[in-house]
């Protein structure tokens, strides 16, 4: 089930709707999110950074499980975190601080694995690449930087290199408002929007500017279509502009070079965009608190969701696991709650004693999912230890898994035996029934 999740900078909770039916789901309470501050952690639970006031000196990060409206875990990082991002699998959370630092946490332990000074001013948006190996950050100083996680965790190479980042794009003159990444791994394009009224398209492989699109107004949100033909740019004048990525556009159109059209309905500024590949839908959140669902082909609005009065500033489309989307029984809910409560809050500082320990990543070979999962070796060690002591929840979970597996095998065996028995019986019966006449005939 695909759900739409939207949060606001004014407290009104996180709204949640079914994209197909439009039915409203649970509303998660007390959330004041900055732009790009909402993230779904591997579809397991929701995380959102909280910032009451742009000039506040402290903020926190909240976790919600899908089934409970109240926030379950509250963490207090060292400084206010604005943007949050998690890798696809949900094993790591990255947060951008208002001093320009980037924080890198492990979800399972809450440990702060790394913190580095990334920008001169506050980080405004963070994006992971498709394969989770690159992190792209935008900042208030107009700088877009590309970080390789391999580099970040490689102390030796770091000392050799003159800088930590892979690329630093400084062509934007004002705050970067949004970044999206195209498809194609290392050959992808990055599109960044800024308050200087431009969107710029960068090449990740060549590390240079490919295209500069000047818009009639400031662009606050961008999203890219799955075919990568165009990107959509939500602007402060209330329009959603469609800018070409591939096609060569004629310079004689109304808006400017490379802009091939627009979606308009509203006069209020568009603050966030999301694209749902299922059904080719474009979702736009606006300053008036509405979420509009557009059919991209016909350029019509097909549905509207109404959040409470405040402006929407984050939209996510999350594919919920099937078990969660069913009407949950109380037993399930309690078990969920049990699970989420196990997530420890994010640590404030990097634990210096941990530095001595090896924090290498262990890549477990995938058995069920397609992607390899990265877990820090310390976490694995902990798991092993717990397993040995047979005490912890993770161990219990594994035990349960093992037992389930055993049970399944027993079932299979049982079935097999049953089948054999049935066959045997049938054979006997046949034998008996057939035997008699044969005997009879013989007798005759």
């Amino acid at each position: 089930m695909n759900v739409v999740i939207a949060s606001s900078s004014i407290d009104g909770g996180i709204g949640c709707w079914d994209l197909q039916t439009g039915a409203e789901q649970l509303r998660y309470k007390t959330c004041v999110s900055p732009p790009h501050g909402l993230a779904s952690i591997g579809c397991r639970f929701l995380a959102c950074s909280q910032l009451r006031d742009p000039s506040a000196t402290s903020g926190h990060v909240l976790y919600w499980s899908w089934s409970k409206p109240q926030a379950l875990v509250k963490s207090f990082p060292a400084e206010p975190i604005k943007p949050l991002a998690a890798n696809t699998e949900g094993s790591y959370i990255v947060g951008g601080g208002s001093s320009g630092d980037i924080y890198f946490w492990e979800v399972a332990t809450g440990r702060l694995l790394k913190k580095w000074h990334a920008h001169y001013r506050a980080v405004t948006c963070l994006v992971f690449s498709e394969d989770d190996s690159l992190l792209i950050s935008g900042s208030e100083d107009g700088c877009v930087r590309v970080w390789s996680l391999f580099m970040i965790f490689d102390d030796v190479r770091q000392q050799q290199a003159s800088h930590l980042y892979e690329y630093s794009f400084t062509e934007h003159t004002l705050r970067v408002t949004d970044i999206v990444m195209g498809y194609g791994g290392g050959n992808a394009v990055i599109v960044s929007a800024s308050e200087d009224r431009t969107c710029k398209v960068w090449s990740l492989s060549r590390g240079r500017l490919l295209r500069n699109v000047l818009f009639p107004s400031i662009i606050d949100a961008i999203t890219i279509d799955p075919g990568e033909h165009v990107f959509y740019a939500g602007s402060r004048d209330g329009k959603i502009y469609i800018a070409a990525l591939n096609a060569e556009s004629s310079p004689t159109n109304n808006y400017g070079l490379h802009i091939i059209g627009s979606l308009t309905d509203q006069s209020k500024p568009v603050t966030c965009l999301a694209y749902s590949a299922e059904g080719n839908l474009l979702l736009s959140g606006s300053e008036d608190g509405m979420i509009r669902v557009w059919d991209v082909k016909t350029k019509n609005i097909i549905r509207m969701f109404r959040r409470s009065k405040g402006p929407v500033n984050n939209i996510l489309i999350v594919k919920l696991p099937y078990s969660l989307s069913r009407a949950e029984s109380k037993v399930q809910a309690s078990s969920r709650r049990h699970e989420i409560s196990l997530q420890p809050p994010l640590e404030k500082y990097a634990n210096s004693s941990d530095e001595d320990l090896d924090n290498k990543a262990i890549i477990t070979l995938p058995d069920m999912i397609d992607l390899p999962s990265y877990l820090s070796s310390q976490l694995i060690n902990d798991h092993i230890k717990q397993l040995q002591q047979q005490g912890s929840s993770a161990a219990a979970e594994m035990e349960v898994k093992r037992l389930k597996h055993d049970g399944q095998r027993s079932m299979e065996m049982f079935q097999q035996l049953k089948k054999v028995y049935d066959n045997l019986q049938e054979f006997c019966v046949n034998e008996l029934l057939n035997g008699q006449p044969m005997e009879g005939s013989k007798g005759n």
Partner: protein, 879 residues
Amino acid sequence: MVRSKAPSKKQQKKGIDFKKIKRKLGRKLPPPKNATNTEIKSKAIVLPEQSVATNKEGLAVSKKGLTLKELLQQSSHHNAKVRRDALMGIKDLVINHPAELRQHRYAVIEKLRERISDDDKVVREALYQLFKSEIFPGCAEDNQGLFISLLMTYIFNAMTNLAIDIRLMAFKFFDLVVQYYPPCFSLYAEKILQSYEDILRKNQFYLEDKGKLKTTLSGLVRCLSLLPSKKPESEKSISGDRIIHAFEPDTPTANTGFSTIIKKLKELVLVLINCFQDFIPLLNSMPQLDVLSFDCILSMLQSIDIAVRFFIYGIHEETPESICDQTLSSALSKKLLGVFPLYPKHHLSVKEDDRYFILNVVIAAIFLHLRELVCPSANVFEKFLEFIENALLGTICSSTRSGKATWEKHIPLLLPFIPKLASEVQTGWQSRILESFTWTFKDCNPESSLKLACLSMIEEMLIPRGYMHYTKASDTVVLDYQTVWIRELPLLLNLLGDKQPSSSQVVLCLLLRLGQFSGSNPFLFGEYENIQFALSEFYSTCQEGNLYYGPFMRLPRDCQELSICCLYYFSNLNVLLLKSLTFCCLCSELEPFVSFRIIEVLHAAYKAGHIQIVDHISFFMTLLSRFKILPESICPVRESDVKVSNHGTFKSLTAMLCSYLSQMGDSSVVFHIVEKAILGLILLQPPLENACAMLRVLIVLDSKPTLLSEQSIIALSNFLPGYLMDVVHCIPEDDVQTWRYYILPCFFMFDRSSKLLKLVLDVIGSFLTDSNLSLPSDTSTRYATDSLSRINATISLLLLIYKDVKVRKIISSFRTEIGSILQSIASLQSSEVKMTLEERHRFQSSVLEKHFPLVRMVGNQPRGRSSFVGNIEKKYRFS
């Protein structure tokens, strides 16, 4: 005849006198030995040149009437003069018939290249001129590779010629080729360097003929400057409509062959150093440094400089350490750096000083490149530092104008080393170097390229590139100078004015980078904040009531954009700067686009917490109340004066500010802040447009049961009647759109507060009483001042109200007020005594026309006619 006779005679004689000669019959005799051949043969003689009319009609010919083919033939004539004439002829022909050259260029080259090693000097010179002025420019866009390869074999051949003159000329030719086809050097690099080396080894000649040596060396400098180096070259050009995912072929880098030439280059450098060394005694013996020898030495030094740079920064596999081995580094340090500084022995003229200064600057640059490789002794290092300091301070150079010019031209060579030097030398020297650098920065001409070079160095020192390392706060020496530089920037901007936008752009870029960077450095943060005061002058200043606009207004768009972006990064925008920005926005000369951009960026800054809410709102309010509408009359814009009028601009400005204000957060809080400000402004009776804009702001922020306080409702009720009547008075009736624009805010207010409506109606009613009408100069209205127009306006206004369905519904509960207004209008008609007859007539005709429909409308209310309506109608019937 003769022939046939003669043999027969002889035969007869011989037959008698001498032995018999056997004769065969039927055969003719061989001709006698002394016979004269009288046969006449004729052949056709073709003389194409001589028949003017027929032959050369279609052919291109030179002045002397020769075709290209003939000229080419003549170019290999054995007579030097003819050869030269042929070359001149070709030049002449090519000038007049450029197509001819394009068609036959390969033929021409193939023939002419033989002349490169011509024995005659004049011919070579003519050939050179021909190539330089015609052939190369003419063939610029062609496939030059083939073209050049045709030439190069002959040039190399000439380079190894025995005659020194021909060799030198060959270098000159090569220089020409390189100018037109730079890749040619990389193709033949090794061979060329060898040739240069050979010729420079012949040291007896260069002391004799410096002119030739000079041209050769300048060619060498040109060649060497083509060596690839790693210096970052920004490729910012993005072609507009290229496809993003286009396939880009790997362009073969022309630099691949350069690794092999390092050895050759090294030898060449050694030869050049020897050359230089040979010149030194000559310098000492000469009374003065003449131009030619100066140029020679300079070229040598420049060549060495370029070669050294290639060794250190160039793109090749070898490390600088392995290249600068013992032989090279000792030669460099002994023979070149050892003689530093060069100084005139006899000290004659100022010019000479400058020349020595230039040479010394180049040597210093070479030294600074090599500093880490040769590890100079402290003495030598000190010597150089001293020179650099003096050079920066300008004490070495002469103080004449030409001296100053040379100084500005050559100092940039030393500047790139300053950041590194300043960070590495000991503290004492550090402050001396920075001091002198600062002096240079301040002293040089703002429009010169030296200033730009200084700026880029300052950027490097203020904003470290690459890995972030911060200037330590303890580094007070550096901080002092940084302060000076930063404070200089806005002054420089004002000084530059709009004379040189490119320089202003560089300064603004630096300011922007500084702003972006300043967030992470507390010292820079403070300094950047302080710029604001000086920067406000860049926008506008207000002195004793007079406004002076700064250079901002006149700079091109991209500079304006940059300077607007700078504003965003002030963490606390002060009021002074905000004020000067406001004046800029209000200036009618500024393009609306730019002023909108200023507002947009300031709002973004407000959102980021960089502007106080009070300042921000008062900025908006000032814009709304002080914006000057042109032309001043409220009359709707006719098609013709759309250009002059800025009504449209103001409308979009209003819409923009309204939407910004509504986004500012809790609108009720914002409303309370704005309410006070607006009411203060409204009571000053602003022009209608501004008043309308302010009312619009109020209704955007207000909600259905009004948030207006009691006081403001009363204040508004005193203002609105006048406003409404003015609007009705000034706008012609048929222009409904404009009407709605001005009146709609009031309707919204009436909708939200019925009390306001009641008070307004009361005030309108009281306008119409006799006592008020007699006062001709009432201050509540600006336009509808006389009583007649006031009554007229009242009626039109009421008509308007009744036309609007929604307002009519609201107003239906105020029957008594309406009734009293109507009554007083009616009674005015009957009791009008002071008017002259004519006036009275005009009054009645105009009023009656409208009054009836109004009365009918009021009467058509669902509750039926009330008695007073009937009374009024009766009155009309009487009159």
